[in-house]
Amino acid sequence: MKKVYCNVTKCLGCRSCEIACAVEHSKGKTLFTAISETPLPVHRRKVQAVEEIIISDACHHCEDAPCITACMSGSMFKAEDGSTQHNEDKCVGCWMCVMVCPFGAISRRKNLAIKCDLCKDRTEGPVCVVSCPTKSLTVK
């Protein structure tokens, strides 16, 4: 399965990926329209830092995914390609998934868990990868 990897030695923490991610997951799919949508689109990638290390991190699509085990509504699931996907329609916002995700990769919006879906609806692949000016993110 293809996933997005961040090269920690290259990432400068510019947050371009966060913006591109939020825009891609907005209704209008442009920055201009995204900022005035309600609810505001949420980015699934998070730029995080410790001392000199900066990482742009998101769902790792764990092989043995704790969020799926814990999800009591059956909305987290493994897709055919092995990625961890989320059926937002069934989610009740219980945050059992947040409780167990070892990467803190799940965001919350009123009654809805939100996480990286690898831009499954974008034929060219994850938008964060192309948005990164330092080429820290790769999909492979």
Partner: protein
């Protein structure tokens, strides 16, 4: 190979998936005394609140049994496990097995108070309970919850959403006394009281009044409350009766070893009915929770199918959100005894409370109110028993996140053994 699984919920379903991941052809029979397809009882309160349809209770597709080539028997109870690898069903028939999984879960503990048998007194455990409560809403103005645990409060929240006046009666000093300390619970209690749910603490009901139907309760201090629904949320009790005469060891639940096998060979138990080791305290106990049931079902299933996988223990943890105030607790939240170190951060104005409990520089538990996003990161440090002395000062910082534990991931390679950690480019 003939597998028989009793109970078709979190543990049973997960066992089916596990068995089929290694054994495509063995015969699997799943028996449930409920007359409804696979559904999640955890979301019943959301259904009761009117937030979801009955259809969405189903957490696996209608075709689950067909897809996994399972013989499903519904609406029949397994009455006993018999000698000679057989079980007896409520219709008198017997069924043989090579490997048996008992995944019978638990039921609501109904209190022994006068009046508990009246119409309008419910537990909230299965879909029928939810439907019956729902049917009664039309003639109900006030509902009383006896018990301030997770299920009592979820039911209270649901019925409040449906426009009823709701009163929660708790014997303990504070609500959610199982999962939270007093301080953390206080935030939730204030929030739900502000929104109109009344909480009475330190008292229990001594009688449920009414003729055939409930008309009220009388508290220990003689105070009377009129109500038309009483929901009892006093915890659960494991469904172990079927093994009573089978020579299988029980205490609160069915006692299992690291392989989730009982003291009788080829008989396994998983989920709310199984008594296992607590991963944090090391004590033999039942942490009757969905994720524990799913993982146990999976490991039991794999072992039944010939694998040899060890279970590292169950976790006491939970997550709730009422009126947009999320709270997560995990592990030991109210330490008793020596040697614990407690870190606390509190902001009353923002309703944020974070407490981390450490022992020998390892996190053994936490409570997070209104700032829960990194719960799983702390959780991984608990599970893996990582020494966090190097990042102790950062643990409660507002900007704590996964990156902060990267130095530890680098240092403790053996503990962070999962593929996902190995893939990090650092």
């Amino acid at each position: 190979m003939e597998y028989v699984i009793v109970g078709s919920s979190a543990a049973g379903v997960s066992a089916v998936e596990a068995i089929r991941s290694v054994d495509k052809s063995g015969k699997i029979t799943v028996i449930s005394d409920e007359n409804y397809s696979i559904y999640s009882r955890c979301v019943l309160s959301y259904y009761l609140a009117g937030m979801m349809t009955e259809e969405k209770l189903k957490y696996r597709g209608e075709d689950f049994f067909k897809k996994h080539n399972v013989d499903s028997i519904v609406g029949k109870k397994v009455e006993a496990v018999l000698p000679g690898k057989k079980i007896k069903l409520s219709d008198g028939k017997t069924l043989s097995f090579d490997k048996l999984l008992i995944a019978t879960g638990s039921r609501s503990k109904m209190e022994n108070i006068p009046g508990v048998e009246k119409d309008g007194v419910f537990g909230l455990r299965n879909i029928n309970d939810a439907r019956k409560i729902e049917e009664r809403l039309g003639k109900t103005k006030t509902a009383v919850m006896l018990g301030g645990g997770l299920i009592g409060l979820r039911a209270a929240y649901a019925l409040h959403k449906r426009g009823l006046k709701v009163i929660v009666v708790v014997k303990s000093k504070h609500i959610l006394s199982q999962m939270l300390d007093e301080e953390g619970a206080g935030f939730i209690q204030r929030r739900i009281e502000n929104k109109g749910i009344k909480v009475i603490t330190g008292l229990s009901a001594k009688e449920i009044t009414g003729d055939k139907e409930v008309s009220g309760i009388i508290l220990e201090n003689e105070e009377k409350i009129d109500c038309q629904i009483v929901v009892i949320g006093k915890g659960v009790q494991a469904n172990i009766e079927l093994v009573k005469d089978a020579g299988i060891k029980t205490e609160w639940g069915i006692i299992v070893n690291e392989s989730l096998q009982t003291n009788v060979t080829d008989v396994f138990a998983a989920g709310d009915v199984a008594q296992t080791k607590d991963l944090v305290t090391g004590e033999s106990t039942i942490n009757a929770l969905w994720p524990n049931a799913v993982i146990q079902g999976k490991i039991a299933g794999l072992n039944m199918a010939g694998k040899n996988i060890k279970y590292d223990g169950s976790l006491g943890m939970n997550s709730v959100e009422f009126f947009e105030l999320p709270t997560i607790s995990y592990g030991i939240t109210k330490p008793k005894g020596e040697g614990y170190e407690i870190l606390v951060k509190k902001n009353d104005a923002q309703e944020i409370y974070k407490k981390i409990v450490l022992k020998n520089n390892k996190i053994v538990g936490f409570v997070l109110v209104n700032d829960v996003d990194n719960a799983g990161v702390y959780g991984s440090l608990i599970r893996k028993k990582i020494d966090v002395s190097s990042i102790k000062e950062e643990l409660l910082n507002n900007n704590f996140n996964f990156a902060k534990i990267l130095p530890l991931v680098k240092k403790y390679k053996e503990e962070f053994a999962e593929k996902e950690y190995k893939e990090l480019v650092m």
